[in-house]
């Protein structure tokens, strides 16, 4: 598996041919630092949505940006950055989940670290909603989840999604429809399980 996204602009590199050490750049390039500072949170959130557990998010975010660093020269500035980054996140999250033997569905309490500070009711409700979303996303098939997350959460256009994931446009729409159905069913199931307050 390669850690580069399936992007026509990106050279596909077999993981066996990727050296364990990185190119001998003496320091992080300023544009790479800026990229991390601007989009680190987006990648971390995407990883959570892609099923990476809270405890592993930092590690996997680090791995994603290492992969990004390796392929930084492949990025076409004319193209939107988020789908490009998401491509890395999706591939690395998939590998991570498989290594960890993740189950498809976990209880909502596992998903998000609880903020120990007392929060307003609205914040509690939002936190519960976010936990519910993450739990329901795990019920969406792996191949469809990136399409759903990018389209319905990140509001990325389908042409950009399908370009980043290197799939036909119709396949993208088809995956989105199926993913929505799976997500809706999972939300309903989790709400029933968690009681009327969820």
């Amino acid at each position: 598996m390669t850690d580069s996204p399936a992007d026509p602009q990106t050279q596909v590199v077999n993981s066996e041919s990727v050296p364990p050490a990185l190119p001998p750049r003496t320091h992080l390039a300023p544009n790479f630092r800026a990229l991390f500072l601007e989009h680190g949170s987006y990648v971390a959130s995407s990883l959570r949505r892609l099923g990476v557990r809270e405890n592993d998010v930092e590690d996997v975010t680090h791995d994603v940006f290492l992969a990004v660093y390796r392929h930084l020269d492949d990025y076409d500035p004319q193209r939107p950055i988020k789908p490009w980054l998401f491509g890395f996140a999706a591939k690395i999250a998939l590998g991570h989940r498989r290594r960890k033997s993740y189950t498809h569905e976990v209880i909502a309490a596992d998903i998000e670290a609880v903020d120990p500070a007392p929060a307003a009711d609205e914040e509690v409700a939002k936190s519960q909603s976010r936990s519910l979303v993450l739990a329901a996303l795990r019920a969406v098939a792996e191949e469809r989840r990136p399409v759903f997350v990018m389209h319905d959460i990140d509001a990325i256009s389908m042409p950009d999604i399908t370009t980043a994931l290197r799939i036909p446009l119709n396949t993208g729409y088809s995956r989105l429809r199926l993913a929505r159905a799976e997500f809706a069913a999972a939300v309903q199931r989790l709400r029933v399980r968690s009681g009327p307050h969820a």
Binding site: A21, P24, R25, L28, P30, G40, S129, V133, D152, V187
Partner: protein, 230 residues
């Protein structure tokens, strides 16, 4: 294509996803941890010569294997020979990964020249020629591990808002005046000083940090912390 366009999401699901979109960003501390790791990782030494290394490993493996087979066979045949492995050539040494913190200056007490060597191409090579390491690699690694342990302890204490963070960081400065994690220490120190209400000192340290490491990864964290002062 029009018939394939998705319909809008049901309002209840849309509301859920709205909440998910408002997920809090990575904390400054988390960003700093990842940046520190990234910087350490991308400053790894370049990979060793590929096929030569593989060939060396293969040859070494063959020699070791042959020697082991010889010992086993001689033992099975009851030969009373000393069980000594003699290798024509030693196997290649295992790869040693030394994380070099390129941005670390010589010291903080005595500010270096305005231009940080670490931020110029070829800086590492230049520095190693001027100041050859006095310690063997394994001692450097041990020292770095000790440094890292102290810094991580301080980082955890800072996150827990403990009161001894500044002392821990000063201890690091005393023990490792030439330390490779000086940049991290100073970054944490600014935050620790702010946390303990020593605003003027924190500002002063922040200014010195900017002067020493103008391109530091940690600078945004320091700037954010200093700008948050009411």
């Amino acid at each position: 294509m029009r018939d394939t366009l998705p319909s809008p999401l049901p309002p209840s699901l849309a509301a859920l996803l709205d909440a998910e979109r408002e997920r809090p960003a990575l904390s400054d501390a988390a960003q700093q941890r990842i940046l520190t790791r990234l910087e350490a990782t991308v400053n790894w030494p370049p990979p060793r010569r590929g096929w030569l290394t593989a060939l060396g490993t293969f040859a070494g493996g063959l020699l070791v294997g042959a020697a082991l087979c010889g010992v086993l066979l001689s033992g099975r045949l009851g030969a009373r020979q000393p069980k000594l492995l003699v290798l024509d050539s030693p196997p290649p040494p295992p790869p040693v990964v030394v994380v070099v913190h390129a941005a670390a200056p010589p010291t903080l007490v005595q500010p270096p020249a305005a231009e940080s060597l670490a931020h110029r191409p070829g800086a590492r090579a230049e520095r190693s020629q001027r100041n050859p390491p006095a310690l063997p690699d394994h001692e450097h690694d041990t020292e770095l591990a000790r440094e890292r342990a102290l810094i991580e302890t301080a980082r955890t204490a800072l996150a827990r808002k403990q009161t001894d963070v500044v002392e821990l960081l000063f201890r690091h400065a005393q023990q490792f005046p030439q330390g490779r994690l000086s940049e991290e220490r100073e970054s944490l120190l600014v935050q620790a000083l702010l946390q303990s209400g020593r605003v003027a000192e924190a500002r002063s340290r922040g200014e010195r940090f900017r002067a020493h490491w103008p391109n530091s990864l940690l600078l945004p964290v320091i700037n954010a912390a200093l700008q948050a002062i009411p």
